[in-house]
């Protein structure tokens, strides 16, 4: 089970509204390389890992991804909360407003709703972990694109921090992949 901690993993205090940035940023919530896909990917794959190392790592990284969903959601909320309808229209968020008003909703930056087809489970630890390594690299690349799209240090700093988490997770998955590869394929 999970227990909620009433705090963010890393502080976020965005002072200036920026609707364009919110529109781009939402992809790290509900896009193909976003945090929701990451959490669901690892938390579904963990059951069929061959030993407790895999089960532990996927549980703990999957749990951290839930905290990242909260960080991205907080950023989107703070970037949009003071927007007028005119400003939403100007930024192209009127189409979001139609269905959701200012509520959070997991989509990519083009408004495509989240789908579980963004991740796979195969029951094969090497296949699953290879996907996980790729997912972390793709999420890192998206964070870099997002950093390129803003000048606001209140936004850049948490994005740099989240980018770094992708690098750490990638390396942990890689270590586990290499360990299973050695055992399962009896490589010397």
């Amino acid at each position: 089970m999970w227990v909620y901690e009433k705090k963010l993993q890393f502080p976020i205090n965005i002072k200036n509204k920026d609707l364009r940035m919110a529109k781009y940023l939402v992809t790290q919530y509900g896009g193909s390389n976003g945090e929701l896909a990451a959490a669901l990917r690892y938390l579904n794959q963990r059951y069929t890992m061959p030993d407790n190392r895999g089960k532990a790592l996927l549980t703990d990284i999957g749990t951290e991804e839930l905290a990242h969903i909260e960080m991205i959601s907080t950023m989107i909320y703070q970037l949009t909360k003071d927007a007028t309808l005119e400003e939403l229209k100007e930024a192209g968020l009127d189409t979001h407003y139609t269905e959701h008003n200012k509520a959070l909703y997991p989509t990519d930056s083009n408004g495509m709703p989240f789908t579980v087809t963004y991740f796979a489970t195969t029951g094969d630890p090497l296949a699953d972990l290879a996907e996980d390594m790729a997912a972390e690299q793709k999420a890192r690349a998206v964070y870099e694109n997002l950093i390129d799209l803003t000048n606001d240090p209140d936004v850049i700093n948490p994005l740099l921090w989240l980018r770094q988490r992708e690098i750490v997770h990638y390396n942990r998955f890689k270590e586990l992949f290499e360990y299973y590869e050695k055992i399962l394929n009896k490589k010397s």
């Binding site: 705090k7 502080p11 700093n157 360990y179």
Partner: protein, 151 residues
């Protein structure tokens, strides 16, 4: 009374039998000299492991400047929780690294102590907190993190 030592001994024996039958449990990171940032530096960067850290272009993480005592204490909690979490992920796949386990426990205990102090002063972080003995129900009274609460 619950005998914890029996649990640990049985667990160890069962698990060792299981492990010996299944896998070669040699350590991947044996003899690897791990260079760690301090919890403060690691938290600012989002990475406790010097060897894994790589910057994007010329961007540097901003120094975190707490604006008051509450933010200062929360920052210290976050730094220690983060360091413990980084070592948690490492220990998941290197469970026999005793020096990292000792360090994990240092940060974990520090974070737990600081959280208790914080909750006494500023309200509950978790629904298991003892400060919830007070009336009214403090879980509902303190701000949520997206509104700037406990940040």
């Amino acid at each position: 009374m619950y005998n914890y030592n029996n649990f640990v001994n049985n667990y160890r024996q069962n698990n060792l039998d299981y492990m010996n039958n299944m896998f070669d449990y040699s350590e991947l990171n044996n003899n690897q000299n791990m260079n760690l940032f301090t919890p403060k530096e690691g938290f600012e960067k989002g990475n406790l492991f010097m060897d894994l850290y790589s910057e994007y272009k010329n961007y540097k993480p901003r120094k975190l400047n707490p604006r008051n005592d509450q933010e200062r204490l929360m920052l210290e909690i976050n730094e220690n929780l983060f360091a413990a979490h980084e070592l948690n992920l490492y220990l998941d796949i290197n469970p026999n690294d005793n020096s990292m386990l000792a360090l994990f426990n240092d940060y974990r205990k520090k974070a737990e102590d600081l959280k208790k102090q914080y909750e006494q002063l500023y309200g509950p972080l978790c629904i298991t907190s003892d400060v919830l003995n007070n009336s009214p129900f403090l879980w509902e009274k303190t701000s949520f993190p997206w509104e700037g609460g406990n940040n």
